[in-house]
Every structure is written in structure tokens, then in C-alpha cells.
Amino acid sequence: MSETIAAISTALSEGGIGIIRVSGPDAIEIVNKIYRNKDGAYSLSSYKTHTIHYGFIYDGDKLLDEVMVSVMKAPNTFTREDMVEINCHGGVLVCKNILNLCLKTGAVLAEPGEFTKRAFLNGRIDLSKAEAVMDLISSKSNMSLNNSLNHLSGRLFEKIKSIRESILYEIAFIESALDDPEHISLDGFTDSLRKKLDVLLSDLSKLYDSFSTGKLLKEGINTCIVGKPNVGKSSLLNFLSGYERAIVTDIAGTTRDTIEERVILKDISLNLIDTAGIHDSSDTVENIGVERAKKYAKGADLILFLMDATEKLSNDDLAIIDFIKDKKVIALINKIDAGKEIGSSEVKKLFSKESKVLEISVKSGDGICDLESVIEEMFIHGEISVNDDLYITNLRQADLIKKSMDSLSHVVESLDLGLPEDFYSIDLMSAYATLGKIIGEDIDDDLVEEIFSKFCMGK
């Protein structure tokens, strides 16, 4: 257990404060490299144990956040290892960036339940808790793997698989030639490998970018816009997407009848899903869309429910309210510039007390600011939350891609140095193994299988 691990130890949704926890022999050294005190000095390693300090986290010269950092030296810590906790208040994105920075600086992302595991193995946790610790480890890692598999799009999964296959082929070629030099020759191999590596590295780098910007993975608050047809759902989506303070990126919709947009309001990231209008219909095709909309609404973290102020509440509206009433809902009475048929007190009665009802006009922009504030407030108070595990999964995947890129870069270096094949094939193997962790495949007999199936060996 000589690796130093890091993770965000607070739920990401719980308002402004987040804690990044680092544990292991290099914990202090790692944070020392990114923390500066108020005078701008790298002073962390000089602090006494069990003290807390005000200062800043810098990524190079870029200020990330104003923080309080506590230093705790072994053995009187939770894990009985050196530990540093960075308390930041910049919200989810900042937390994530600081964690990323720790990883870049030498920490590894903690495995599910790893802090607890270390605490236990180092004798810190009561023996009676052993069962609980084991359950935690196994359930968390199962969940983590499930998350990973469930939320990798098919395309992404295939992409990683195909990169892995290319790497394995190259290793098998090298290894079969090493094992059977009289049948298989490596003449001219290094040049062709060099070219392939360039391609693989650029593919991985693209993947890495998409992981770190979160384009490909649904991360953030899944926010579903529902309502009967022509109530202004698409307009709301477009309006929020085009909102001047929002950063917008496109995500290809997974189904033809829903549209997704990534919208970041302040530091809160929303995945806006516009669904087909829900109403009672005899049209089969439309019904499929309606079923989908219901399904999305069910899985959403937050629902924006739109009504039309120019009409009385209809049966369709009531039917929708019926199946979303257990969710976090912000009810929006739209088109108030054109009518007043529905009043907010009337709608309030239909929902639980905490539910928010706002009157807006997407057309004129009235009430949109309030909407933003309400979402922010709900988020800060922890009323709505992102899926933490999913977020961590994403980070883990990005981290693994980065590691596999490092391994392949090592190969390139070795090729440039003219080192022999048996050396860099080890790095190829670790790139292969690392990528396997993303898609939940281990390496057991892959290589031997590949060698025998692709190359004709001797005797």
C-alpha cells in the first residue's frame, strides 16, 4: 500500500464546500506542490501535524481556488497514513479540477472503499466493522463497474476495444518473434510500430479530451423538460442553451425523439433533455415517444414541468403531474405574457410543499432569472444532486486513458532510444491492461491466445 490515493470525500452536491482527501506516504509532498500560502510560498511540508491552513491551490500559475488545507501525519489519522484534506468552496468543477491536479501530481485515484479499507488494514477501524467494510468494498466496486459499463456509449466501448485489440496484436507479434525467432522476424517492425503508435496516441488523446470535458458521458444533473405538446419545451431548451452565461456543448441525442443539451449555469452542470410532448394519443409512433418521455422523467434528477398559461389545466397536465409528483420538480407556468388562465397557487396545491412553482415567459425572458436562482439554490441545499458515482467513474476512466497514453509514450521514447523489443513490449502490455480496466476486461490469457491464433509458431 505504498501508493498515495486521492478522492473527493464529500458528496458533490452538498453545496459549496467540497473536501479532497489525500492519503499515503507522498500525501504531503504531493499537495505541497500545488498549495501556496497567502504569501505565495510552498510551505505545506513545514506545517505541524493536525493543523489547518489558509491558502490557495494553483495549477502551475493558474489559481484554482481559495482553500483551507489540513495536514495530518501518521499514525494518528483515519487511515493511519499521512493525510491531507483540501477544503475548497468553489463547487463541483473546482473540486474535480483539484482532484485531477492531485492525480497529475502523483496521487492515484482511490479505489471504491479504499480509504476505509486502509483504515481497517492499518488497525484503525473496530474489528466488528469488518463485515461492513467488506460489503462496502464489494458493493462499491460492483456499482463502479456497472456504472462504467452502463454509461459508456456503445461507440466508445467499441473504440476502446479496437484500440486494445491493435495493441494486443503488436504485443503478440513481438512476443511470437521473441519466442520463435526462426519462424517470425521483426525486420522493419519498429518503423511500422512507430506509425501505429502515433495513430493510437492521437485516438486516445481525443478520447481523453472528450472524457475530461465530459462530452461523452452523462455527467451533471439530468434535467428533464416535460409537458404536453406545444407548451414551449423546445423554446425553453433553446433559450437556456443560448443563455449568455451558459456554456453549451452538443450531445447527440441517443434517441430521435429527445434532444439533449449540456448547460452549465454558474458551476452547476445540467443535462437538459427535451422530451416529446406527453398527451393521450392513439398514434402508435407518438405513443412510443410518450413512453420514452416518461422513462426519462423517471430517471431524471430534476424535472422542469411546463404548463401553458393561456389554457386551463387539462387532463394531460394532471396525468403528467400524477407520474412526476414523487420527483424533484420545478413547475413552470409559461406564456404569462399571453394569458393568465392558470395561477401558481392552484398549481402549488397539486404538488408537495417544497415544490417550486414559477411563472415565466420564454418568449419575453420573464422569470428565467428566477429559474436559474431556484435551481442553484436547490443544488446548494442538496435538494437535487448529481450522480456522484457516475462522476467518479468518469474521472477514473479519464485517468486510465491518461495512464495508457503514458505507457504508449514510454514505448515511443524507447523506440527513439533504440531499446530492444522485449523492453518496450512491457509498456505496451501495461497500456493494454490499463485500457482493459475501463471496459471491465482483465488480461489473463489474452496474449497467449492472440499469439497462437494470429501467428504460426514453430516445431
Partner: protein, 631 residues
């Protein structure tokens, strides 16, 4: 039951069943450690027989031979005495995969090993088939021969190779014999099964042997040995083995060959479904090559002499179980073999062997105390793999009798460790062959440093003399001193240094640089540096070689050492023998079943079982910690 007074009884310490490459090493190790040992063989003339290819060593197998030698085994010494050609393979590649291979004079190899056995103190050779193990309360008591004699013993080593219920197939013709027509051993399997041992069936094959006089070598490429011959054994003086070598020859199959094979596939017992045993993919029959690699226009064929005093030539690359008439037709399509005469037909052989997950890493059966197993019986293939296991089984049988802890080498210490760990931990579904890709720490496990790695084990066990061990200690010291010196000697950017670098197309110095840093440059080597390193000590070539490797590849070597540290930590975490996996609630079902089946000794071993995830390993760690505290 009354005992039959006419039957003989003998009392010994260790019985070794089988006198192939595993049996010989096992018997020698046991006898050399002072135990009364008897070795049984169905035929004295088949001691250390090489029934297949006429060579020892080769990629990764050469590593095994060097390791056997470093530990005090016999194979390396014996091939040094009886080789007729020698070659270091992979010299254009990295030092970790350089591999020595020698062509043996087969009958000389066998004769020479027999002499060593015959003259070994405490060792008796006995021609007899063993038909039964005497087991009482899960413990070995003795073995019984076909003629009824009981040898009472404290440990035994089963090294029956391919002889158990062997049958040979050549097309439609099936004979119930061991290799080369030798008598099979048909009774021991039953005794093993009766004692709860699980067996399975593997197969392998060998190509035809041809009359040298019927081959036209002018149509083939001649393959020579190395100019300077390196011995296998660290005890052999290289100067003493330089000699004239015999050539091998290279030719190729062609479309015509492949056509004949394809047309007659239905007559191959494998393709006709007659063979039940599982064969190795790494030495496929020519039928397999033609079927599986249909787009390959030709396959290499190596014609290798079987010895100095025979005209038999081995046809490497064309093992087969096709019928005799097809064999003749197919071989005769190969350039140079148009008029060939076959002395022995190619054949496939099927045999009973062990499911090796029943073994401890000491090679003792988990459920039968004192019964050790080695070689092809354990599901491996190859002379070297067999000898390596034989040596370990022999050492551990002896240590069992002497009440000592077994010798277990781990994956970071030796190819032998990888070999045995793979056998006892992984789910092998075909005869296992050593490959360098199986050794994850291979940069450290080189054939050139087997003595540095393993002599100390051989010495501690008692198979390596103090004198031999001291030689290694001195070598180690000289290497360390020279590496240190190269790191400490700094050369400046003086004119003669820059001239030297210019001449070798190496970039010029800006500041002082150590000789070690210069040695790391791909375009420079130790020899070239002599010019600017005037005060260097005079060192032997093997020491210079070690120094160069250590300095040139330091980055990689250090990284592997860190990995090894991690690995060792997990190996040292032992799992209590009486662990009840059903009590570990959070384990996934698959992991629980696998752990129950394999009964790993350490967390490290558990982590290598397929189907056991890192999370399962974490759960296990926590559980074991809890057990420790409870007790």
C-alpha cells in the same frame, strides 16, 4: 489380508517414478542431498530419452536450463558434454530474451545422463513399472512394482511423462505404447484415481525421422552454429567445449504439400475425431498449420541431425498424425526430400496427466502428503520444463523427509517460479510450454544472470558447493564496484572527449557527465568507452556484460524492481489453510468457487486466479486481517 512371503520388500527414503528429464533431476537432487533414493523406469535404455526434438534450450527454455544449473541440477552440464551444435538465439534483441540452444547427440545425451545416475551415491536405478501407490491416511507409505515388490518410502516423485495409458496414433493405426514404441504404464492411473487424484488426457506429436543418405542437402540452406560457443553450465569452462559443429538445414513446404494434406485431412485421427486429448497450439502439427494458417504459402522445415553416430535426421516443423502413405507423399513434396526414406514415422501420442491445480507450489499434492509430481505428468511439455520441475520436486521430496520447509521460487525470482506458479494457479487447458511473455519480470530474469539470482538457493539447499557459491559472491561484488565506479567517474567537455564523441556520432558534452551516462547512449558501449576510461579495472567478459546491462537498461530494470516489491508484498500475505470461503460473505460467487477449487496459499496467488477480481482480493485482505485479530 495375509502378506505373501514370496514378495520382496525394500526400504528407502525417496522413490522416483520415471527416468525422463524430470525423473533424472529429481533422483539426482534427492540422492545428492543424502537420501536413499531409487529411480524406476520401464526401460533402463530410455533414461533421459529425447523422444522428440534433438535440442536443449531455445527461447525461454534456455533460461530454464541455466536456472536448473544455477540451482545445482544436471541438465546444463549434460548438454555441455553432448552437444553437436550451439547457437545463442535472439542476439539482435534485448539481453532478457537472448537464449541458448544446443543440438544434442541424442543417444550420447541419454548415455551420459545414465552414467551420472549410475555413479551417484545413494541412488539406485531399477527397471520396473510402478503399478500402485501405497497411501495410508492421506500419506505416502510406498510404491508397488509390477512384479509385486514393495518399496517403502517417506516421499515419492511421480514423473511418468507421456507413459500413463499412452497410445500412439499414425493415421488409422493405433498402438498402445509410450513414445518410440516403449512400453506404456497402464496401471498407475487407476491407483491415482482410487486415491482421489484427478487426471485428464493430453496429446502431443512428433515428426518423422529420415535417412540422411536419402536427403538432397544442396536444395536446402545450411544452418551453422555460433563461432564462439557459450556453455549452458556456469561450471563449464567455455574454452573446454569449443569444437567442430554439425550443421542443420532449412527447407520449406509448398502448395503441393498443403494440397496433399488438405486432401487427406479426413484420415488424420485429430480431424477425424479419434483423438480425445488436448494438444499444444505452440507446436502444431503440419495439418494444423495448413488448416489454421491457410493463407501462408509455405512453412519452414528444419532438418536436424539426431546424433553423430546415426543417419537419422529430425524433420522439425512437420509433426503429423497422418497415415504412413500420406506422410511419405507429403514429405516428398519438400525440396531436398523428393527421395526421402522414412526411418520412423511421425505420430501423435495421447496420455494421462494430472490436473495440476491439485498441487502446492512445492509440487506436492495438496491431498496426498509426500507425493510430489513433476514434468509432463503435470501437464507441461518440453524437456527443460520437465527437468525444472523434476529438480524442484526432488529437492522438496528430500526436504520433506528431512523435515525442512520446501523450496518455492516465486515469479520474480525465476522462470522456474513462473512455470510452477502458472501450472498450479492457472486453468491450463493444453500442454504448458514456457514462453518469455509469461514472465512479467523477465528483464530481471535473464539467462545471463541465473547464477546471480539462484546460486544462493542452490547453496542453501545443499546442491551447490561453497566454492561455486563464493565465485558468485565475488562476481556480484566486482559488478557492483564497477557500476558504482562508472557512475562516479565524471568526464568533462575536453577536446579529446568531444573528438571521441564526434567519431562515434554521439552528441557533444556541455557539462561534466558520468561514464555511466555515456554508456546509456545507444551508440556507445563499454568497449568503445575504453578509450576515454583509462583507469578501468581489468574484468572478465561476463562481468562486463552484467555491468553494461545494469547501466544501459537501468530505467527499465529499476521499474521492474519496484513492481517486484509490490508483488512480493502480496505474496507474503498468507491465507490460512483452514479458511472457510463461505464465511467471507462479500465475495462474489464466481470468486468463491474458484478460491475453493484452487486453495491459494497467499493473497498474491489468489489474485492471479482468473475470476478473482481486485475487489475480491480487497475483501479477502480485510477478512484475513479480521481473522488475525480474532486469534
Amino acid at each position: 489380508m495375509l502378506e505373501n512371503p514370496n514378495l520382496c520388500k525394500e526400504y528407502v527414503d525417496v522413490c522416483v517414478i520415471g527416468a525422463g528429464h524430470a525423473g533424472c533431476e529429481a533422483a539426482l537432487a534427492s540422492a545428492r542431498l543424502g537420501l536413499q533414493t531409487v529411480i524406476f523406469t520401464v526401460s533402463i535404455d530410455s533414461i533421459a530419452l529425447m523422444p522428440c526434438n534433438p535440442n536443449i534450450g531455445g527461447s525461454s527454455k534456455g533460461h530454464l536450463v541455466r536456472e536448473i544449473d544455477a540451482l545445482g541440477g544436471e541438465m546444463g552440464k549434460n548438454i555441455d558434454k553432448t552437444f553437436i551444435q550451439s547457437k545463442m538465439l535472439n542476439v539482435s534483441k534485448g539481453p532478457a530474451v537472448h537464449s541458448l540452444r544446443a543440438q544434442a547427440d541424442k543417444s550420447e545425451y541419454s548415455r551420459s545422463m545414465r552414467r551420472v545416475l549410475e555413479n551417484q551415491d545413494h541412488l539406485t536405478i531399477k527397471q520396473a513399472e510402478i503399478i500402485e501407490l501405497l497411501i495410508e491416511n492421506g500419506e505416502i507409505k510406498g510404491v508397488v512394482t509390477y512384479t509385486g515388490t514393495t518399496y517403502y518410502c517417506k516421499a515419492c516423485v511421480i514423473a511418468t511423462g507421456t507413459y500413463l495409458k499412452a497410445r500412439c496414433l499414425c493415421g488409422e493405426t493405433i498402438t498402445y505404447t509410450g513414445p518410440s514404441g516403449l512400453q506404456a504404464a497402464n496401471s498407475l492411473s487407476k491407483s491415482l484415481i482410487d486415491n482421489g487424484v484427478k487426471l485428464r488426457r493430453f496429446k502431443t506429436g512428433t515428426p518423422a525421422r529420415m535417412d540422411r543418405r536419402s536427403i538432397d542437402f544442396s536444395k536446402m540452406e545450411e544452418q551453422f552454429g555460433d563461432e564462439r560457443i557459450e556453455p549452458f553450465s556456469f561450471s563449464t569452462d567455455p574454452d573446454s567445449i569449443q569444437k567442430e559443429q554439425i550443421s542443420c538445414y532449412l527447407t520449406y513446404t509448398n502448395e503441393e504439400t498443403h494440397k496433399i494434406i488438405r486432401e487427406n485431412l479426413s484420415r488424420s485421427p485429430i480431424y477425424a475425431g479419434i483423438i480425445e486429448g488436448v494438444g499444444p497450439r505452440y507446436c502444431p502439427s503440419i495439418e494444423d498449420k495448413v488448416v489454421k494458417f491457410a493463407d501462408k504459402e509455405r512453412h519452414q522445415v528444419f532438418i536436424e541431425p539426431e546424433g553423430l553416430y546415426t543417419n537419422e535426421m529430425y524433420v522439425g516443423g512437420m509433426s503429423s498424425s497422418l497415415p504412413e502413405d500420406v506422410q511419405l507423399k507429403m514429405y516428398r513434396t519438400v525440396p531436398g526430400l523428393e527421395n526421402c526414406k522414412i526411418v520412423r514415422n511421425a505420430y501423435a501420442i495421447e496420455y494421462d496427466c494430472l490436473e495440476p491445480n491439485q498441487l502446492l507450489p512445492s509440487l506436492e499434492l495438496k491431498e496426498l502428503s509426500g507425493v510430489f509430481c513433476a514434468g509432463q505428468f503435470n501437464g507441461s511439455s518440453g524437456y527443460e520444463e520437465a527437468a525444472a520441475q523434476g529438480l524442484i520436486a526432488g529437492i522438496n521430496a528430500a526436504r520433506k523427509v528431512l523435515n525442512k520447509e520446501p523450496l518455492v521460487l516465486d515469479r520474480s525470482e525465476a522462470y522456474i517460479g513462473v512455470l510452477i506458479d502458472d501450472l498450479v494457479t492457472k486453468d491450463n487447458r493444453e500442454p504448458y510450454r514456457m514462453m518469455t511473455s509469461r514472465a512479467e519480470y523477465r528483464l530481471l530474469l535473464r539467462q545471463d544472470n541465473a547464477d546471480l539470482r539462484l546460486r544462493k538457493f542452490g547453496y542453501e539447499v545443499g546442491l551447490v558447493s561453497k566454492e561455486e557459491y563464493d565465485k558468485v559472491l565475488l562476481k556480484e561484488k566486482l559488478i557492483d564496484e564497477e557500476v558504482k565506479r562508472l557512475k562516479e567517474v565524471i568526464v568533462g567537455a575536453s577536446k579529446n572527449i568531444q573528438d571521441f564523441l564526434t567519431r562515434h556520432e554521439s552528441s557533444l558534452l556541455r557539462t561534466g557527465t558520468s561514464l555511466a551516462d555515456l554508456l546509456c547512449r545507444p551508440e556507445l558501449d563499454y568497449e568503445k568507452l575504453a578509450e576515454i576510461d583509462v583507469n578501468r579495472p581489468s574484468l572478465s567478459s561476463d562481468i562486463i556484460n552484467q555491468v553494461s546491462i545494469q547501466v544501459k537498461y537501468e530505467g527499465y530494470i529499476e521499474r521492474q524492481k519496484i513492481q517486484v516489491e509490490q508483488f512480493k508484498k502480496m505474496e507474503r500475505k498468507l491465507i490460512p489453510a483452514d479458511i472457510d470461503y463461505d464465511d467471507v460473505k462479500s465475495l462474489r460467487l464466481e470468486a468463491r468457487q474458484k478460491l475453493k477449487a484452487f486453495k491459494p496459499l497467499s493473497i498474491g496467488q489468489a489474485s492471479r486466479i482468473s475470476g478473482v477480481t481486485p475487489a475480491d482480493v480487497s475483501v479477502l485482505l480485510v477478512y484475513i486481517e479480521q481473522l488475525h485479530h480474532r486469534n
